[in-house]
Each structure stands twice: as C-alpha cells, then as structure tokens.
Amino acid sequence: MPIAEADVKWIEEPRLNLFEQLYLPAVVSGLLTTGKHLVKTLAGKEVTVQFPEERPTMPPNYRGVHRLNRDEAGRVKCVACYMCSTACPAHCIDIVAAPAPADWKDREKYPETFVIDELRCIYCGMCEQACPVDAIELTTLFDLTGFSREEMMFDKEKLLSVFDETVKAGTDPVRTHGGKLGVASEPAQPGGIPPSSTGTVS
C-alpha cells in the first residue's frame, strides 16, 4: 500500500546563519571536543583495559560459562527435571537422571551425568531462566578456551568446579533464593536476594 499523503512528513534543511556558514566555529568546537578527549585520556581516564594483566569486571548479568550450584551440604542442587535441556535452543545440555540417594530426602531424582557442550551453547541464558531450583547459572567467566572439542564438553564435576571457583573468587555470588532448594514459585526468603534479581522466572 502506498504511503498516504497525510503520513508523509516533509522536512527542510535548517538555514545556517552567517556565523555558522563560515564553518570555522564548527571546526573550532570540533577541535575542542577532540582536545577534551585527548586531555581526559592523558589524565588517566582511558577506557582501555590491559587485558592479560588487568581483567575487566563484567556486569553481574553477563552470560559466560555455566556452573552447577551446590546447596549447603555441598550436594549438586540439580533435581534432573530436564527443564533446562528442554528450554535450550541449541540442544547442548545432556542429562542422565537417576533416583536420588536414599538420604537425599528433598528430591526424587538427581543427575547422574550432566554434560554441557560449551562449543554448541549460544549463551542465551534460557537454561538459567528455566531452572526451577536455581541449580544452573551462567557466570561472568568470558575467556573460555580449550585445545580440543572433547575438552569443551563440560561434565558435572567440571561444572561443579566452576561453581567452587567462582564462589571462592567472589566474582559470581549465588543468585538464588538464599541458597535454599525450592520450587520456582517459592517467594524470596527474608534477607535473600529479591526475586527480581534472582534470574528465575516466577
């Protein structure tokens, strides 16, 4: 359908006045802007991070390498519900569920194996959103490298070690309901992180 005449907006170039027409004021003000940046950088306010020596602090919602969270008892939090692997658009999560050990009273199943193909993952964070017990989270680790494809298949132990490392380093605090296991609709625990920042779908 052609555009109706009423919707056509006609615009005219604004007229320059004599001062602007000389161009020199614009050139000078442009040079001042350039100079301002020059001085600012020379004063030590550059934005560059000297990467291998200096590491940037990523925003807390950065989506990097995954981790599997542990509960207070050090057990894997995951209840092997397959919601993350179902939500995953890249089909990179492979879970084998098994009946939970008898002394794990709070759940019926646990993941016997839990493998994420970090090369296939698109780091969309939908696994994190889908997880009902906040067991899988994306960390701010961004420099993931490896020498082989096999090395990049992260199994349960590796994912748990990522949790240990990032929590110990303090870069990625656990973003869950006060660290308690529970269903996704569980209200935030007093003193815990408010639900809006937990990264879960309520």
């Binding site: 109706a4 170039e13 020059l38 550059e46």
Partner: protein, 418 residues
C-alpha cells in the same frame, strides 16, 4: 658561528638533517597512533619498549624484512618508480626550508634601475655579503633566492608519486585514488600559491630567510595576513593528503587507495614521503606566517642558537599536532566538495586578499602609514573578506526541494486515498 661555505659543512648538515628527518618521521607515526588512541579514549601502542617507544624501530625492522611483493599485473618500471618519486620529491622540497636559526641576507635600498643597482654595491655592502656568506644557516641549501618557488614546484611533483603508483598498480581502486589526487592538486595548488603571494609582496622576497627576517623587523605575518594563513593552512592539509582531504587513500571507499598494491619498504617509502611533507609544510607555515624561529621574549635575534632551533622545532610540532587533531575531528570531503571549496571559495578569497595587499601596500607607501596601521588595516580587510564570503554563500540560491524522509517516491493524493 662562523664557517666558510664548505662542502663538508653542507654534507654534515644534510646527514644530520636527513637522519633527524627520518627519525622524526618514524616517531611521528608513533605519535600519530598515540594521538589517535588518546583522542578515542584508548591507550595506543605500549607493548614494544617502555611506553611503546621502540614501536617505530620494530615497525622499521618489519618493513625492511617483510616480503616485498611486486604483483604480476603491475607496470614494473612505474611501480618501482612511484615510491621513489614520492619520497624523493618530499626530501627535495625540504632542501630549501630553514629548520633552525637563519640570518637575514643583507639588502640594499630597493634598486629601481640598473644604474641604481650597480651603485648600491658599495664596499660596505660587499663586506656585509661576505659576512653573510660566512654565517652558518640551518638550511640544507642556504641562500636560495627563489626558495619558495622551488619548494612549491618540487612539492607539487610529489603528486606524481601518487598518480604513478595508482596507475601502474593496474587496479581500479588504486587508479581511482590517484585520479582523485590529480583532481585534488588542480584544486588546492592555486589557492596555496596565491595565498602566499601576499606574504611575498609584504616582505618583498621569495627567499625564506628574508621572509623570516622581515617578520623579525615587522612582526609576524599572521597578524597582517590571517586570511592568507587560513587559506594556506587549508591548502597544506590537501597537499599532505591529510584528513579532511585524504581522498587518494580513502580506506572506506578505495580499499587502501593508491598504495593498495604496495607492501613492505615500498609502502613505507610512501609513508615517509607523506610525513616528510607534513614536516616541510609545517615548517613552511611557521616561516611564512609565524616568524620562523622567533618567539616573543623567548627566541629573539640575540638568543642562543639552540634556543632558536628548539623554539622552531616546538612550533613545527604544534602544527603537526594540529594535523593530527584535525584528522580525528573533521570528516573527509568528497572530491567534488573539495573542488567546489577550492574553486568557488578559496581561489576568489585568495585573489581578493592578494588585491587587498597590493592596494594597502601601495597606499601605505604613498601615505607613509606605519607598519602597525598597515597590519591593522590588512587584518580588518581579511575579516571583512571572510564575512563577505559567508554572506555570499548564504545568498546562493538553494536547492529548494524538501527532503522526503518517509519514502523514496511521492504518491499523488488521489492514489493515496484509494
């Protein structure tokens, strides 16, 4: 400092100046990269040596050791000649430009006839000339009376390096770059030459040492010739192929421009030529309009040799810094815009300025105006001319067709209703 005009002295000066020039060029490239980084809130090269200060040396080694590719499809003779022309002309142009303290050549009263001229060569004057010939001048080729003409003639040959390079590369992008360069040279050379004529009329000589000497006695030419200074400044940006006039190497449009097919040392020679050109024109601007090595209270005629040299170098450096800042401030002109600017604005302005200088100089001579009055009037005339140009541009009939932001075609009302 006394010296006989001895070939060894000249050779030594050439060796020193050439070495300094090469070193300065190398470090200017580092400065350019650093400035670019600072202006963009970055740090810039800092890995080679402390603060990246060894970067130019690493670059030089890389340029020398890299594989020197000559593609099969090029015209070998001109392909090899082009970088040599580019760097050779740039270095030749530097030959007559003072880079340090100079003395004013002795001058008699302006001789009007041959009889007057011969009678003015008194023994006293001969003695002055002898004295002058024994004085060391910080120029590779001192005492060149047509210094400015030589400089302009040779430095405009530099464009042949670009044209040959683009043509012999047998590559459409390179050719386009060099064609733009030729479009550029016929635009900026004329206002450049004409803007300088005013200075020549005021100081009565093409000898660069004498132009410096004139400013020593009468104050910087900038104050009487601000418009000419502006025109010259604009033109040297085009002359050096620097943004906003770096049309021959518009990376975004022309791959690499005229030097797309060049690699290793041949590419480096183009770079060397460009930076030498920048240094030469910066010195030239300072000589013509800002008194060369002089600076009020800091470097006067009585100052030490080293002070003059350093002040001159510092002034040149300020100009180079302006080159670099402008590069990150003003976007590139299209070549039709450059030609429009040069032919419709710069050339008429330069002509008007030249006329104004001639008239004011004549009036000053006949009415006996003091130098200050003359400079003041010329300054006023410059400002007036600039404002007049702005006003005339405003009065130009504009393309009245409004811009349509909603779509490419305008739909008649009756079809739109259906």
């Amino acid at each position: 400092m006394n010296y006989e005009l001895h070939p060894w002295w000249t050779l030594l000066t050439i060796a020193a100046a050439f070495g300094a020039l090469q070193g300065t060029c190398a470090y200017l490239i580092l400065l350019e990269r650093k400035t670019a980084a600072w202006v963009q809130d970055r740090i810039g090269p800092n890995r080679v040596g402390p603060l990246g200060l060894l970067q130019p040396i690493a670059d030089g080694i890389k340029f020398l050791l890299k594989e020197d590719i000559i593609p099969d499809h090029v015209d070998r003779v001109f392909f090899l000649l082009a970088p040599a022309v580019a760097v050779g002309t740039a270095l030749l142009a530097f030959a007559v430009v003072p880079f340090g303290p100079t003395t004013t050549p002795p001058q008699t009263a302006w001789p009007q006839t041959t009889a007057e001229e011969s009678s003015s060569y008194t023994p006293q004057f001969q003695e002055q000339v002898e004295q002058y010939n024994r004085t060391y001048e910080a120029v590779l080729a001192p005492h060149v009376d047509i210094g400015m003409v030589f400089n302009f003639a040779v430095s405009s040959l530099a464009v042949y390096g670009i044209i040959l390079g683009g043509w012999s590369s047998n590559n459409k992008y390179s050719l386009m770059g060099s064609l733009r360069s030729s479009a550029q040279i016929i635009s900026y050379e004329i206002p450049m030459g004409m803007s300088v004529l005013g200075v020549v009329i005021l100081s009565g000589s093409l000898n660069l040492e004498r132009i410096i000497g004139h400013q020593l006695a009468h104050g910087w030419n900038f104050f009487s010739q601000p418009l000419a200074c502006l025109l010259f400044l604009t033109s040297i940006f085009a002359e050096c192929n620097r943004l906003p006039f770096d049309l021959p190497e518009a990376e975004q449009e022309l791959v690499g421009g005229y030097h797309t097919e060049y690699s290793a040392m041949k590419f480096a020679l183009f770079f060397l030529g460009e930076y030498t050109h920048m240094i030469t024109t910066s010195f030239l601007l300072m000589i013509l309009f800002f008194g060369g090595w002089q600076f009020p209270w800091l470097a006067t005629a009585e100052s030490a040799w080293v002070v003059k040299l350093l002040v001159f170098a510092a002034k040149m450096f300020v100009m180079i810094l302006l080159f670099m800042l402008v590069r990150w401030t003003i976007p590139r002109f299209r070549f039709d815009q450059l030609m429009g600017l040069a032919w419709k604005v710069l050339i008429p302005l330069a002509l008007a300025n030249l006329l104004a200088v001639m008239v004011v100089r004549h009036l000053a001579d006949t009415n006996g105006w003091s130098n200050g009055v003359q400079a003041g009037i010329l300054f006023g005339v410059s400002v007036l001319l600039l404002l007049l140009t702005g006003a005339l541009t405003l009065l130009q009939p504009r393309n009245r067709r409004p811009l349509n932001l909603a779509g490419p075609t305008r739909v008649p009302a009756e079809t739109a209703a259906r």
